[in-house]
Symmetry: C2
Subunit: 375 residues, 2 copies
């Protein structure tokens, strides 16, 4: 579903839901039975409960203030402001794969960048000078190689990573922990405006949502969830960056960490990750190489290390393993169990490969499994 | 076998063998059939070949110059000079386990230290100031914890490690790549003399053997082979230290590497090792902890870490919401469903909060849910 008319009944329904705690899994169940989100507001408490929604939802849905909705709608005052329900074609495809995907995203900027290959760069709000340099250098090299740099708009590593690619006219995505009507931290207001022009600001939080500490871990799952991989530049052992890294791991995404001196307290978070098996990286090229090796789009222009421009680029053919996997997927719905059985591959491996195939439009994820698309 | 009488026929036989290339595996086969090494010199060429020795060994054994042997014997001019065939009770027990154990060791110093728990510290001949400090600090902490520090007497990391423990009156072992009648590098002559008093100089090379590049990798296998584990402090990607680390891995021993800035060329060898799965260490205590299990297994005295009283405790103040969430979690296992029900929060929100609490050691994730930890 694409919301074209900002003031459609569907739009109002999704906006209203931005004020209600409902998990995507419940909504998925709802959509197995109903076609439009507007229907949700027509159901009785009993019907809602029979769909698995928690007690009292009817009352909650009914209590959403109309004035509040009008305020929300007023935010959508320009063409580059979007509301993307998870059912939208514009919703970031990798994010849809995670367990706790946001049901809607507010987007301010170029929504197209959300579908591009993203690499998250996260780290300390107060990095060492070397950490700052590394954030800038890695972001620039990855950006030039065609990755969109995604981060959290925070001070420190986040900001340096965003600014580094902005300075080169390259796109970047900032995921906010507040509603998009405000910028936190305020010091990044100018940067946020540039991101709108050259990328996108993204939030799952309702318009008007202020700064709340508990929202930041939630924000972090979107940063890692949209990205192929997450790079931790410098981080203390107990820090939000380590939460992002852990979420990325749980989401089955790649995580990379830059090592540092054992006397640098901000290297300890990275070292802790490396001890857990996260990949130690010394150059951005290693990240590009790793993600290209994983990705079936290795022959596309994206994620080509600068150094490799002389390498002959062959046709857009799928790797043999991916071609074989596709052949195990029917044009009708094929369940995950069935694919695992047919291929004899581990479920982790299969799900990662399916993700990439879906991202490249070879297959489509549907209720109950996957369908092959005619090529 | 212990050689007590320096000028015994056995001693002369082993000394003679220091000039002949014979692998320990062939000698083991010989000892299955004969009881004394002197018998080797009585066998015919045919008998020797039937035991698997190479053609021409008889002639080689016969050609060993008596004058040369007298010179060798002249080196044993004090009670702290020893010849240890691999059959000796004094031979380092871990070294005997490796595939290419030296058939004999020349030892100058306190041969008892060879049977103590050793940890090898190796690294660049020209470390950075931080590398030097790390060598000194790790050696001292490991030495104080009861490990004998073993290294290669080279300039740089080797020397700093030896000197660090010598300064504390603790034992250290230096494995030389030359005969023990000379000290290489000459600059370490005074240090070598202190090592003799406070530990041991060790070599497999015949008296009179000079500096030969090919001998250093052979020397390195003894350093790693005598040790429970090998720590690489700082090393270039192509360096002798990395050879030692590789040998240690092949010998099934633990290897540890200290990370560093990605802009430090001497951290690259360590990073290369970590990428291969070698353990990244930030403190000597981690090595002690890791190796203590092995030491217990050997039923010998444990490595005791010094109490680290200065360890900084990083603060983390809980938000009110988190404090409330904790109060809904029991010290017994509390299921996710139960936590969701008690808090009335959405599962997504709860799971992210739990993650943060777990990262901060307030709760622990167990089968079936979470447990609160006593603070």
């Amino acid at each position: 579903m694409n919301i074209k008319n900002i003031d459609s009944p569907e739009m109002r329904s999704w906006l209203a839901l931005s004020h209600v705690n409902i998990s995507i899994s419940k909504l998925q169940h709802f959509f197995e039975n109903y076609s439009s989100i507007t229907d949700l507001f027509e159901l009785s408490e009993k019907q809602l409960q029979s769909l698995g929604f928690r007690q009292g939802l009817k009352e909650k849905l009914g209590s959403i203030d109309d004035a509040r909705l009008e305020q929300d709608l007023a935010w959508f005052d320009s063409e580059n402001k979007h509301l993307l329900p998870y059912t939208s074609h514009d919703y970031p495809p990798l994010l849809r794969e995670i367990d706790s995907a946001p049901k809607i995203l507010f987007v301010h900027g170029q929504k197209e960048v959300l579908k591009q290959h993203q690499i998250a760069i996260v780290g300390s709000r107060n990095p060492t000078p070397q950490g700052k340099d590394n954030a800038i250098e890695f972001a620039r090299t990855l950006g030039k190689a065609g990755a969109v740099i995604t981060s959290g708009l925070a001070l420190g590593v986040d900001g340096f990573a965003h600014q580094s690619v902005l300075d080169k006219g390259l796109p970047t995505i900032a995921v906010a922990g507040t509603g998009l009507d405000r910028v936190y931290p305020a010091r990044h207001k100018t940067m946020a405006q540039k991101i709108v022009e050259n990328g996108a600001l993204v939030s799952e939080f309702a318009i008007g949502t202020g700064v709340r500490a508990t929202h930041f871990p939630a924000r972090n799952r979107i940063i890692s969830g949209m990205s192929l991989g997450t790079l931790v530049v410098e981080a203390a052992v107990k820090s939000g960056s380590l939460i992002t890294a852990r979420l990325a791991m749980e989401q089955g995404r790649e995580v990379f960490a830059i090592p540092g001196s054992i006397h640098n307290p901000l290297a300890r978070g990275c070292h802790a990750l490396i001890k857990q098996g996260v990949k130690l990286v010394e150059t951005a090229e290693e990240i590009i190489e790793e993600l290209s090796a994983l990705a079936i789009w290795q022959n596309e222009s994206l994620l080509q290390p600068e150094k490799d421009t002389n390498k002959a680029v062959e046709g857009f053919t799928l790797d043999k393993e991916y071609q074989e996997l596709i052949e195990h997927i029917d044009y009708d719905t094929t369940s995950m169990d069935c694919i695992v059985e047919r291929t004899g591959l581990e479920i982790d491996v299969v799900s990662h490969m399916l993700l990439l195939l879906e991202l490249n439009d070879h297959i489509v994820s549907v209720a109950g499994g996957y369908q092959r698309r005619s090529s």
